[in-house]
């Protein structure tokens, strides 16, 4: 479960720290106390930045770092597809062995496949992704159509 990629992201997180954004959310995992504050900044339909601050286990923290790597610079629609694929993988209870196609979509995030076998830890891996989804929806509804066009 603890792949080197996960430990690397945990020890040296990418994009950590709160920066400007159009929306901010705070998500917690009540069973273990993991917390994340996450902001999304959109530039038209492109995700200009995902910044975050939080505390929690290596899985939750590494997952936020991988999310930052993967989603920043992507178009919202493409990012949503990545998020959905990640969600599908994490909810697979270890039954999905990522194939080449999935690896292409998820890049580093495929290393979390092993986490999906541990029901207690799936929420840790998903914490930042759910926060991102929520923040993006908020950012979209707070910006006018002209701004996002």
């Amino acid at each position: 479960m603890y792949q080197d990629v996960i430990l690397d992201h945990y020890k040296h997180p990418h994009g950590r720290g709160l920066r400007d954004g159009q929306a901010e959310v705070h998500h917690v995992n009540p069973t273990c106390g993991d917390e994340i504050t996450l902001r999304v900044r959109l530039d038209g339909t492109v995700i200009a930045d995902v910044s975050y601050e939080g505390q929690g286990c290596s899985i939750s923290q590494a997952s936020a770092s991988v999310l930052n790597d993967l989603l920043v610079g992507k178009d919202i629609a493409q990012a949503q597809q990545i998020q959905e694929t990640f969600l599908e993988l994490m909810q697979s209870r270890g039954r999905i062995e990522p194939d080449e196609e999935m690896e292409e979509v998820l890049e580093d995030a495929v290393v979390f496949a092993g986490v999906s076998k541990y029901p207690a830890r799936v929420k840790c891996a998903l914490l930042s992704w759910m926060a991102w989804k929520d923040a993006t929806a908020k950012a979209l509804s707070s910006t006018t159509p002209e701004e996002t066009a």
């Binding site: 479960m1 106390g33 929690g56 286990c57």
Partner: protein
Amino acid sequence: MTTDGRVLPGLLDTEAIRKDFPVLDRLVHDGRKLVYLDNAATSQKPRQVLDTLNSYYERSNANVHRGVHVLAEEATALYEGARDKVAAFINAPSRDEVIFTKNASESLNLVANMLGWADEPYRVDRETEIVITEMEHHSNIVPWQLLSQRTGATLKWFGLTDDGRLDLSDIEQVITEKTKIVSFVLVSNILGTVNPVEAIVRRAQDVGALVLIDASQAAPHMVLDVQALGADFVAFTGHKMVGPTGIGVLWGRQELLEDLPPFLGGGEMIETVSMHSSTYAPAPHKFEAGTPPIAQAIGLGAAVDYLSAIGMDKIAAHEHALTEYALDRLLQVPDLRIIGPTTAQDRAAAISFVLGDIHPHDVGQVLDEQGIAVRVGHHCARPVCLRYGIPATTRASFYLYSTPAEVDALVEGLEQVRNFFG
């Protein structure tokens, strides 16, 4: 004997005891020996309890207190016999003071609801105060928050000292003439602290407040004598004391149980019912609406027999020796900080700690890979984590079948955790 050659005083014959607990032989994660250190969450069950459950279902299963047939009479005798056993186990003056519930949470909620609906002099209302402590399990916080919200009563609490004890320095300001109920935990599930009952009970009695003691972490581990405690109510649960899940106990003083109103209505708790009104059965049945957890109560009776045969004083001595040894060894682990008392005095066998800045979830996961089962998180006592400025802890908790070798396994496991995340 321990790895460093020490002989611990007062240890039980765990080799013999462990033979009674089939699950302790289990191998996990590719053949690793299970080291079960999550006893504060729930205990394992001995063959004697499992056999009793089986035998009840195979031979005597029936609903209680009603039928006139053989099975109904047997089931009733077994169920009520379990009440006798529990009454004796806690030295209750009367068997009618033992109410079966589904767990300690229900027992605590039951008292909160009795008081919410009670008449004077027990009534909790906006003029009155409820007192708890900062080290309570959520199950002894939330029912009082609910009662406070519903009645307008003020909720107050004792804070904690830096070394994990109750801060009673302001006891006369916290428990006052307005206090109707003081509800506190005898042994903290997260800190392991054993609280000073006498000082609190004395103050409560001085101001005429009722006292409820949450003994969930005490009943499995030490002699529990409700008369010696001097409280009005004592709550605990069966599954932490080698009994099944789904069975809890509320002990209450008889005159209070007579005076206080029922909470749940239904079958079993009535005397007569008409379409206009009902009268109630005497305690304990007044508080046991509906078909009770029959098999579970009988299983708890078997658990009490099992513990009594070994002796609660001997179990307490065993755990005290193990706790002393575990504290000693854990304090030598670099970067490890105990959350709670660091000596075994007035302390039980649940030990919480943090290990550097490694998150408890990661500690627990790496220990699990080595077959070591601990609890991680806030242990349903989040205010304690907030008080000590930590998100969560790792908790190892011991019981009558725990061994010094298991303490050693934990310490070695923690070394591996440090290597892994260091």
